[in-house]
């Protein structure tokens, strides 16, 4: 029986199997997915390699020339004669470089917040779905209550409380971590709900019974048996949540409660640029806003595509 199998189907190398997988086939046949993946990859690699890509070091005051302030895109500046591709802001900082560093921070906060939200949501969802009873009731009621508030409001609330608790001299340093904490905490519900429902389905399957039968401890069943089988939808939600987290971070920063101007994210850049919109220096706000748009859109389109491929029922 098995010899026949071995003869007909030569085992494929992992990259061959990956190339032939459904996900990859769908990727190669969805132009939108390929385009958004390309845009996302370019943006992410520019952000990661910002110190090497950026023509200027925008947060080193010694390299700044105040006379270059408000220099328009592609024109040589009055002070130094440098050409700033996307213009310069009021301090004479290169917009292109600030965008790269800002995107770096935005992406970091977004990824970290989604990581926090996913770990929290997956853990609580697994526990609620497997334990059932009053544990399930308590966790899911908390989730329901949190869902009745808009998540940006929850994030604002948590941000305010957490900021109030940090000592004033540490506030600017801690701002990034407080942001991650508040966005992550406002976004765990979706993970918990999805994981809970798939856990309830999986926990009734016989392979879990078999593990219980031989007396495997509960945490082993949860981690080794259930977790790998409920992670499929989590990947999809995480991708879509990444776009939401980046936007939430930008919103908080735009409202002035997020990343400080000394260490700006895309949201902070948009907020500072907004002051000059009516005085004609449009490039200070336009380019950060466009970058945010491209970033969020490409992540979102990737997430939508992934959802359609991995779970046709969710459509």
């Amino acid at each position: 029986m098995n010899n026949i199998q071995n003869d007909t189907a030569k085992p494929l190398a992992w990259y061959q199997r990956a190339w032939q997988s459904d996900v990859c086939w769908s990727f190669r046949h969805t132009p939108i997915a390929m385009l958004s993946a390309l845009v996302f990859l370019i943006l992410v690699s520019m952000a990661i390699f910002a110190p090497w890509v950026a023509p200027h070091q925008p947060f080193d005051p010694s390299t700044l020339n105040l006379m270059d302030g408000f220099s328009p895109p592609m024109e040589s500046a009055i002070g130094s004669g440098n050409v700033y591709w996307l213009g310069a802001d009021d301090q004479g900082r290169d917009i292109f470089s600030t965008i790269l560093y800002g995107m770096r921070l935005s992406l970091f906060i977004g990824v970290a917040a989604v990581f926090l939200a996913a770990s929290l949501g997956v853990t609580l969802g697994l526990i609620a779905g497997y334990a059932g009873g009053w544990v399930d009731t308590i966790i899911m009621r908390i989730a329901d209550i949190q869902l009745t508030f808009p998540s940006i409001l929850v994030a604002l609330l948590i941000f305010g409380v957490a900021r109030g608790l940090t000592p004033p001299e540490l506030r600017d340093q801690m701002a990034v971590w407080v942001l991650i904490f508040s966005i992550g905490l406002s976004d765990w519900v979706q993970f918990a709900r999805t994981v809970r429902s798939s856990t309830m389905v999986e926990a009734n399957k016989d392979y879990v019974q078999a593990a219980r039968l031989i007396g495997r401890p509960r945490h082993v069943i949860l981690r080794k048996h259930l977790l790998p089988n409920v992670m499929g939808p989590v990947l999809v939600i995480a991708t879509i949540s990444l776009a939401l987290a980046i936007i939430a971070e930008a919103t908080l920063s735009f409202l002035g409660v997020g990343a400080p101007p000394t260490k700006p994210s895309l949201g902070t850049l948009i907020r500072t640029g907004q002051d000059y919109l009516f005085s004609g220096e449009w490039w200070i706000i336009l380019f950060p806003a466009m970058t945010l748009l491209l970033l969020a859109l490409s992540v979102n389109l990737l997430g939508d595509w992934l959802r359609d491929v991995l779970n046709p029922k969710l459509r």
């Binding site: 098995n2 016989d206 219980r212 039968l213 031989i214 089988n229």
Partner: protein, 347 residues
């Protein structure tokens, strides 16, 4: 029963399971409903002797799987006890429980749900070894897995594959290998062949019989398929609505079924010599286990019903080699296969 005590591996005494099926607390208070219970299993007694196969047969909803779950300790019984080799599973302390668990294993119905799809075969089969003998080295464990795979008729090279690469019958063999991994004495088989093709069923059943003779295993075999029972079982218990209506050695049950329900089951089973045979379709449906009939649960469907049957629940009584729960069993006509049963009392 008493004289067999020394050889009995499993003793089930007055086993019962009640499920709370009431609506949620608030709805119940608002609608002034009482609590409602479903008796899935009620006062079931049987003994399984070492090295034999005891089959539980019954329709769906008769409590077969509930008994299996209570027997292996996945579900605590509401009443009664399960005694394995003299130890009550629910009373045992953690150490005793762990030792008992090792000796009881289970083969599941659906080979597609009983293997973790994200685990390799060697991890699946090796898990019981890891659980009960954590001191065993990784290399010895994979050697054990290879032995087990060959024992169930697969190849040792299959260890690095995933469950989706196997057919239903092969998966069931993997499930059997996992059950054997902890060197058990008792294996509870919950409809192990009902999800398989008929041709594969025979292979799996033969494998299970060979393993029984080779390893001296004791089986509790749960099924609704009488031809499987005839092939596998040494003794049979017939379940109806959570209670045993008849338990008897296999030969006596098939030749001289006593309880009217057992007779009906045998009549309803397809047979090779059944062409042109007059056939009495089973009367009625299995009743709602929440509102069970009074007296004998079978009386609304029974062709031999008497007024007493509707009032009094029959106790088990000996009839030849069988234990039968029927008031009228002494007065029933002798069973002839294929006979058409006329109701003796009209109601």
């Amino acid at each position: 029963m008493v004289q067999n005590m020394s050889r009995a591996l499993v003793e089930v005494q007055g086993l019962g399971k009640r499920f709370d099926v009431s609506s949620p607390w608030l709805n119940r208070v608002l609608a002034r409903e009482p609590k409602r219970y479903l008796s899935a299993v009620e006062s079931v007694d049987f003994v399984i002797e070492k090295g034999t196969t005891f089959a539980l047969v019954g329709e769906s909803g008769s409590g077969k799987s509930t008994i299996a779950k209570m027997l292996v300790g996945l579900m605590p019984p509401s009443t009664g006890r399960v005694v394995i080799d003299g130890v009550d599973l629910m009373q045992a302390d953690a150490l005793e429980q762990n030792q008992l668990r090792r000796r009881i294993q289970m083969i599941f119905q659906d080979p597609y749900a009983s293997l973790n799809p994200r685990w390799r075969i060697d991890e699946i089969i090796g898990e019981p070894v890891l659980a009960f003998e954590p001191e065993i080295s990784r290399r010895d464990r994979s050697r054990r897995v290879a032995e087990l795979l060959e024992q169930v008729g697969l190849s040792a090279t299959d260890a690095h594959r995933y469950p989706h690469e196997f057919s239903g019958g092969q998966r069931q063999r993997i499930g059997i290998a996992r059950a054997l991994a902890s060197k058990p004495e008792l294996i509870v088989c919950d409809e192990p062949t009902s999800a398989l093709d008929v041709s594969v069923q025979a292979q799996v059943l033969n494998l299970m019989r060979d393993l029984q003779t080779e390893l001296g295993l004791t089986y509790l075999f749960i099924t609704h398929d009488l031809s499987v029972v005839r092939y596998m079982a040494d003794a049979i218990g017939v379940l109806y609505l959570g209670s045993l209506v008849e338990s008897a050695p296999a030969s006596s049950l098939f030749d001289t079924p006593q309880h009217p329900y057992t007779r009906m089951l045998l009549e309803a089973a397809p047979r090779l010599d059944g062409f042109g045979r007059q056939h009495q379709p089973p009367a009625g449906e299995i009743p709602d286990p929440i509102n069970r009939p009074s007296g004998c649960f079978y009386h609304p469907r029974c062709p031999f019903v008497t007024p007493k049957c509707a009032q009094e629940q029959p106790l088990q009584r000996s009839m030849g080699q069988a234990q039968v729960a029927c008031h009228e069993v002494e007065r029933l006509p002798v069973y002839h296969p294929g006979q058409v049963i006329e109701p003796s009392v009209s109601n």
